[in-house]
Amino acid sequence: MIWVTWRQFRTQAIVTLAALAAFALLVVVTGEHLRHVYDMSDISRCAAYSGCAHSTVSTFGAHERILSGLLGPALLIVPLLIGMFWGAPLLARELETGTYRLVWTQSITRTRWLVVKIAIVGLVALAVAGLASWLVSWWYAPLDKFNMNRFDPSVFTERGIVAIGYAGFAFAVGLAAGAILRRTLPAMAATFVSFIAARIIFTFWIRPHLLPAAHAAQQLGAGNAGITGTPHGVSLFATSPTIANAWVYSATIVDNASNVPSAGRIQALLDARCPQIASGAGLPPGSGPGKATATPNVLNALFSKCMSNLSQQLHLLVTYQPTSHYWPLQALETGIFLAAALALIGATVWRVGRRTARKPAGEPREPTATPPVLHAAP
């Protein structure tokens, strides 16, 4: 059975291996270059967003811009290709071309036949995804050190081990779609749609709830708050603060009792603590402090003073996933996708083993209305 699986899977395996080798070559060559640039620049000595000269940052950022936009998305496509080209045809092609009638009547139960095929192709799929993800993660390591945004959805899904979970899941979706639809092309299309839908749902509605978020209080300052002009005066707003390698859910301005102050209260506080800004001195209506063109230094000084004055009553409450939750979240997401894959595979094996609900391919035609042909051709 192992030989049979290998013989049918051989071409795809060789093509995949060749593609993976080419990919690895590209990643290693350009990745070494990227590391060289990183080590030569000052980037390694300054943390993200601060302490680096602007020119240093932009010079480093200009390196490998095209590749850095391609390698990550390429990794995202790997599970999709596995699901569509390995998972979907595994059963659908046999059912579609009728060869299941040949192979299921050899001296091997169809359950064993299916389990061996799934095990071999599925494990290769996981290995390919893991290897590709490892290469990509390695390549991006200098950029990630610089960007410190490991929870950004595109970064989170293109690094680490989650690609293994995606690959297993896509493979199982393809397999199940093939068993239900019994045709290769519709099964591929269904795999494409279902996999992307599952990934979107997971990213937006499931991943944020997997682990309880942490909370932190931050002092108001230029990095997390701003003042804007309104028709009635000025008002205070919070901006998402940047915490290195953390995933910020929300940032809310609260008072010392952790309540969200009303607009009137903020107005009153601004009037009392920041009279110059509240009166609109030097602040054109409708613009934040940083955007004023005339005297930025004066404005910045006013703003900083205002913020430190306000800090006695107000602070910023940040809800976030700390960087220590990165690997637990990676493991959880991988585990959930793999568990879903196992459930789908189990259901498919059970369904195929049961042998019901299957119309024999030989007799889909309706009974003919014309009299039966009982004479051999002369």
Binding site: W3, R7, R355, E363
Partner: protein, 294 residues
Amino acid sequence: MTAALATRGLGKRYTSRWALSNCTLEVPVGHVAGLVGPNGAGKSTLLQLAVGLIEPSAGSVAVLGEEVAATPAQLARVGFVAQDTPVYPSLSVADHLRLGAALNPGWDQALADARIARLGLDRAQRAGTLSGGQRAQLALTLAIAKLPELLVLDEPVASLDPLARREFLQGLMEFAAEHTVSVLLSSHLVADLERVCDYLILLAEGHVQLSGEVDELLTSHRRLSGPRRDKSRLPSSQQVIEETHTDRQSTLLIRTEEPIIDPSWTVEEVSLEDIVLAYMGRPADDIELARVGR
């Protein structure tokens, strides 16, 4: 002696339509049994039930005295050539033989090699490029080299030209003669079966209309023609299968175990095809009565 195929109240339903219903039959071992019936009669359904590709919706089916396709050992006892003889298009002839060897513990490599050599098939040729006849022969080789005790063939010659058809049936007969094997093959052509079968099962509209040994069927059926007469005035031992009447004359196809002694009848022997056609023309309520044998 166990039956090659025994079914009891066997039925298979696809959504709302019963492809096969209330099918009870027993094919003894050692026969080359033909399953005949019009397209859509349920032949494929019955055969796929017999090899375990599908499960019954009602009743039971046993092959060689065992539950169907339950274990690898049971699967090894039954060879199957499916309708349209599917093969893997991208695999070569040799690959198919290797597949057969890998999946069947009782595989007879020498037999397979000899057959492929005699057929003149190129071992390196991809199965997808074989002609219909060659493909059928390859499928047959796979089915017989596993040395089954029962060989089931679903319309194996339906899509073959007359020459390929004859060669295929010849190959099948050679194997059946050299090995102790029961054969069950279906066709919608009586002529195909007449040449090779010694047992016949007639299936129409999902029911078994007739089953029995061919010799027995041929000796027990006669065509009577003579002056017009109503069938109620026949001896009770004579069962009318088909009747046609003109103003003066009656022609009856009857089944009887007794000799026919009425001098007013002209008695003729009938061909298997006549019998099959007569039974197929019968209304459905007579079906139960028409079953030949015990």
